[in-house]
Symmetry: C2
Subunit: 775 residues, 2 copies
């Protein structure tokens, strides 16, 4: 746990340069625009400890699998997002000495992530070995208004000398991934060009042959006056740049503007790539830095209007939630259904930039409420596009007839992970993908999605479950053997309650879907039946048999569902009784010891109760919550949010707030000592859920919004904005007042504490006595 | 499955050179002497497909672990046996062209492993590109009479020319392991010397700093006359040799003798190593090839007298069993308690030359019956010497107070494996190590072993089990969760019947051992109690509680023990009903599918019934055998032998023979398509057990030998020799006669078909009517 980020409601601020924190800050101050993004590496040369990272969404390389012991079924290659050309590099040299924050004497260092405006700023004073001092101020951003453009303003003021400064503005494509399994470089050079102040570099990924063309344009100003300096073209393989020798005067500020255009063959034909890059770069230079930044601020203003959460009375919580929302919006903008959300976004290499079930379980709810409908729809379409690969993936594992098993980890629809207990056994992910379809339609009412895309996916998933269960002659019930549930501190268990629940629910929901589509759109239904070779009678008969005869482990005496067969055979110790010297157990205990213990990494039965809460009464929830929460050690960043939501539902405001705290500043405070690898992007959506679904108790039932708010004691109020079926609402919760403002023109009925309220367009409703309801 | 080895009762013969079979033959024709050994690589240069292998027992390197995903508790380094200096290399060059079986035209190729005499012979005619032909005949062996010596006779006859042949006799130490995790070389050069016809090379292993000095001496004869040719010294780093230019005459045979001395710092002080090597080499050259070979034959004669099995009426079976016995005797001679038996012996790199529980479960019985007592005793002492490391290993996994968990795979007592489901969970190995102590004492009557060594090991093992079980409040019994049994087609199961059985048996046997030692040797008992900090009252009370309250899964309706909790939840398909296109499932099914299926890789419940057969009636055995055999797919080479022994016990001669066949020619026929990686050395002991414990039904009970022979229909007779407590017996079984000859001077009582027979020294007993007993 660290504590060096200054508390501020809108900005992330670091003061003073501590090289030991640099990799953590590189993660925290990351910027991105959904299309590309980067760690907060320095523009200058830096010989200290750093993880260099520039990532372009959708550009991946299938790295050869590395294993200790091969298991049949492992994928031979894993796709991973690449560290790509560094376009920010600006080398500054004075009398042969490089500006390098590791070798120069640094003072007045400050780094600010301006979340409201969407840019990164940094300033410092550097003293060279020869005693010369310069002041540097830089600002940069990845434009979300024009998503192939990046811009940098880099100002230098000589503080105690006049003389020559050599500045090299470049693109360095000779980069590699730190996690390259066999230490390979993944890029080849295809093209380079340097002309006047511009340089272009096209690189091609090995194997996948994605082309990415990066162009830069560099100009230098003396206090707003452009200087017409001749730049020298310099180049190496995969490396192009412009070098400027600039005569500078003491105490005068010189500002270098560097614009970058990053275009890829995902969006242009390869022969047209360089032209597209030049065109984009021209647009950037013509607009100029200030105009681009203004556009950026406008775009962020819109994002914040849609998604901000305001917390009053708790600046640390306010900063934490905004940081989460900011990073989520930087990572995914929902314009391209080929893209998705990696657990680290554009902030590190870990998890390979791939998609996990995190997207469906945690991110979809955030985007459903805070972005246009197409954003969450595109997250779903992503899986729809991978259906054929999921069918092939299932075939590789011995399933047949159109059964689909979505990969645990993927970029292009193929499996990108190789631990048998996860890759092959953590099959509940298939359920989360079906659940996201249900959840999306529940929220948006977009039933057409079911007809046009959803049902086909559901059929593949249902077929998987139908083949994955087996009949136990012993129990005379269906069982699901050999799985890993969301709680990854258990492997290869039988009858994981959550998995069995998801399986039967998927079958039921698919049958409902079939009936709906057959009735609503008989033609499309027929087309789908033919396309999927669906044997309606036989297949649904089997599904029904499974639904009616599934085995669910439980314990009548305790009145709880059992996480899996044999869970009660474990020694039932509680987390509160575990000596803290064992924390975290994943670092202090051997894997077998973790597996044998009853400690739970992440909500598992509780995840099921969260998904299907209306099927269970409050006392069932309470018994299970009390039992499992006491055994949950929350060593997954995805765990506390579900507990927070359920605690809020159970009226336990104190615990709900405690769980919330664990996630909201996870990265800002480096709670798990791993922020240097990148940010926990997907769990940030869970933090948002803790507020909106937890404290505010927001639900969608029967096409209506429900709220059951509570207010954490430390807060004087909180408010948030959501979009719901064309309406735009702001919900504000204070101790004595719940106020819902309907900013749209549409009338709406909402349910607050089980009572309906109509809110006409452009009006609001106020409900008092929150306290009473809390009791 | 291959079928190219000629059937012969005493020799392994390959005729004709097929490069695609070369790596298989390199394994099959391997030679060794317990101290060092090698694959049957060619002396000449060979540019074709080959796995070069020279191995020295006990010389290892800790290679950095390679994993896909790190689990806490994995060892950072694995010891593996090294590919070491190649001392056989003899390069033959004619007019600038190398003799290379991959580029020359080869005819009359023949390879013979003379098992009776213990040497490898090879002959062929090679035609060079220039048309010149030579005939080559080579013989070589690793001396078991003088175990630091190797010798080669290499004869060349020019068939159609006279001229110059250049011969280079060398030591090539610039070798690496094919399985090197990071492609490193493991040896550094320490010393080299070339003088006259001799060359010496001392290499040191990286990290472990073992020094190995190899010396060679080369001389050339013209039809028994030594030729005094001047050899030229040639050397590179890690490479020394003598080059001879020899004028040769057509149709005259020239014979080169090459002697090698291989000594290591395991047996000499480092500064004395070169001298020791020179002395050994001198001994070899003075004796000369023929004398050394004569000693070799004598030594093998003695081995065969002790361990041969004669099978009449089935030459293929005869060849198979002798091959197994030959390879076992080449791999381990029992003179050094620091050494043990790797699953591949000296025949390949796979399994790193490490020790598995194979040694205790399969090899100990073979050496107990066919070698001096010290041989099996040394196998046990090996584990005794590793006790402290086993305690440290257990500590690493969270156990304490002297609990010992022996590693799954080891060379030096440290764990050398990193699959969590095996490394951490296949803990039954600890039971096998205790069982070997019991088995050794049962066979030899050497109770002193218990006092001096065994009990200390047993206390460590018992403490492990005592901590590894946990009390299930649910069952009100002790359970053992999260294990992998001998059947590795199940991972992380609860209450594996075999493991639970071994655990309680270990506790009981340790308690018996404590009582015995306390009574027989109170002083040593007290010393041990102090050394181990043993709290007699508390610890044994806990053990007794566990013994009395252990849970064992079973099914009353079927009358069987259950392999583990939930086994009957699986789909109960039988191996006979599995379409053969799925064979072997470990290559055709994904790992999760294997885990879910009821198919068993290797005897598991049956292994327990085999170990403790006297505790179960024959009907219990039959029910369990019928149930589990039908589900066992025998994809471990260690599986069929136990089934064979039990089938024989159940009077099912046909199945016993079928199981026997699967193992006896496993490598000769390359049954599993993996012989090219090396031979299945430890499973060869299982083959021996199939004959002696299976067909002949040999057991030791109450200090007496029992026999219950059956005769496979295909055989007219079989006989074998065993040593038992100072007696030497030959047992011969024919259809109508069982004949036991007592070659020793000692009288002995044996039990045949439940009837006692006294056999006075130097006499024999004959029992007829085998047929009647079989019914």
């Amino acid at each position: 746990m660290k504590n060096y980020i200054k508390i501020d409601e809108w900005n992330i601020i670091e003061e003073g340069f501590d090289p030991t924190l640099n990799k953590i800050s590189e993660s925290i101050f990351s910027i991105g625009n959904g299309r590309f993004g980067q760690r907060a590496n320095f523009e200058e040369s830096y010989s200290g400890n750093t993880l260099q990272g520039n990532y372009i969404a959708g550009i991946y390389y299938p790295d050869k699998t590395r294993v200790g012991w091969w298991k049949n079924g492992y994928p031979e290659y894993f796709a991973k997002v690449l560290n790509s050309a560094n376009w920010i590099a600006i080398l500054v040299e004075i009398e042969g000495e490089q500006l390098d924050l590791n070798t120069c004497k640094i003072s007045n260092f400050k780094r600010i992530l301006h979340m409201k405006e969407g840019y990164l700023e940094r300033s410092f004073v550097a003293e060279f070995k020869n005693g010369k001092q310069i002041k540097v101020n830089t600002a940069r951003f990845c434009s979300i208004a024009d998503s192939e453009i990046g811009a940098i303003r880099y100002s230098i003021t000589p503080l105690n000398f006049s003389g020559i400064i050599t500045i090299t503005s470049l693109i360095d494509g000779d980069v590699k991934n730190k996690d390259s399994n066999y230490d390979e470089k993944f890029w080849d050079e295809v093209y380079q060009e340097i002309q006047n102040e511009e340089a272009f570099l096209t690189l091609r990924t090995k194997k996948t042959a994605f082309d990415v063309c990066t162009g830069i344009s560099t100009s230098i100003f003396n206090e707003e006056k452009p200087l017409s300096v001749k730049s020298e073209a310099i180049s190496k393989e995969k490396w192009v740049g412009n070098r400027i020798q600039q005569e500078v005067a003491e105490k005068v500020e010189y500002t270098l503007y560097k614009y970058a255009a990053i275009v890829s063959s995902e969006n242009y034909k390869k022969p047209e790539l360089v032209d597209a890059c030049k065109k984009t770069l021209k647009r950037a230079t013509e607009k100029g830095f200030e105009k681009l930044l203004e556009e950026q601020e406008q775009a962020w203003k819109k994002k914040w209007e849609e998604s901000d959460i305001l917390i009053e009375g708790d600046a640390a919580a306010q900063q934490g939630i905004r940081f989460n929302i900011f990073q989520l919006n930087q990572t995914y903008t929902g314009e391209d259904a080929r893209l998705n959300i990696g657990p680290k976004g554009f902030t590190g290499e870990k998890y390979g930039g791939s998609t996990y079930w995190d997207t469906e379980a945690y991110c979809v709810p955030f985007y459903l409420a805070t972005a246009e409908q197409k954003v969450s729809k595109n997250l779903l379409i992503y899986r729809y596009r991978h259906l054929q690969k999921a069918i092939e993936n299932a075939e590789k594992l011995g399933f047949e007839k159109g059964a689909a098993l979505y990969p645990m980890v993927t970029i292009n629809g193929e499996e990108c992970h190789n631990e048998w207990e996860i890759t092959f056994e953590e099959i509940h992910r298939n359920g989360a993908i079906a659940y996201a379809i249900f959840n999306y339609i529940r929220y948006t009412g977009d039933q057409d999605y079911l007809i046009d895309y959803g049902l086909e996916v559901l059929i593949g998933i249902a077929r998987f479950w139908s083949q994955r269960v087996n009949w136990s002659e012993e129990r005379k019930q269906f069982v699901i053997l050999g799985v890993t549930g969301p709680n990854e501190y258990e492997n290869n268990v039988n009858n994981n309650w959550y998995t069995n629940l998801m399986a039967t629910w998927c079958l039921s929901y698919t049958m409902e879907g079939l009936a709906y589509v057959a009735e609503q759109s008989p033609t499309k239904y027929q087309t789908l039946i033919q396309k999927t070779n669906f044997d309606q009678e036989a297949e649904t008969a089997r599904w029904k048999e499974i639904i009616d005869n599934m085995y669910f482990p439980g314990d009548d005496r305790l009145g709880i569902f059992l996480q899996q067969d044999g869970y009660l055979d474990k020694e039932q110790t509680l987390v509160k009784d575990l000596n803290r010297k064992h924390y975290p157990i994943h670092q202090n205990w051997s894997w077998d010891r973790i597996l044998r213990s009853c400690f739970i990494k992440q909500a598992d039965v509780l995840q099921g109760l969260y998904f299907f809460e209306d099927d269970y009464d409050i006392e069932t929830l309470r018994r299970n919550f009390d039992f499992y929460e006491a055994r949950t050690i929350h060593e997954s960043s995805l765990s506390p949010c579900v507990h927070s939501i359920l605690a809020a539902k159970l009226g336990d405001e104190e615990r709900a707030y405690d769980f919330y705290l664990r996630t909201s500043r996870l990265d800002l405070d480096d709670y798990n000592n791993d922020t240097q690898d990148g940010l926990h992007i997907t769990s940030m959506a869970g933090t948002w859920m803790s507020v909106v679904e937890g404290f505010a108790g927001m639900r969608v039932r029967n096409n209506q919004l429900y709220f059951n708010p509570i207010l954490p004691e430390k807060w004087s109020s909180y408010s948030f904005t959501i979009g719901f079926r064309g309406s735009k609402l702001n919900i504000r919760i204070q101790e004595s007042l719940i106020k819902i403002s309907n900013h749209s023109g549409k009338d709406l009925v909402v349910v607050i504490h089980n009572q309906e309220y109509s809110i006409a367009g452009k009006t609001n409703v106020e409900v008092s006595s929150l306290k009473d309801y809390q009791k």
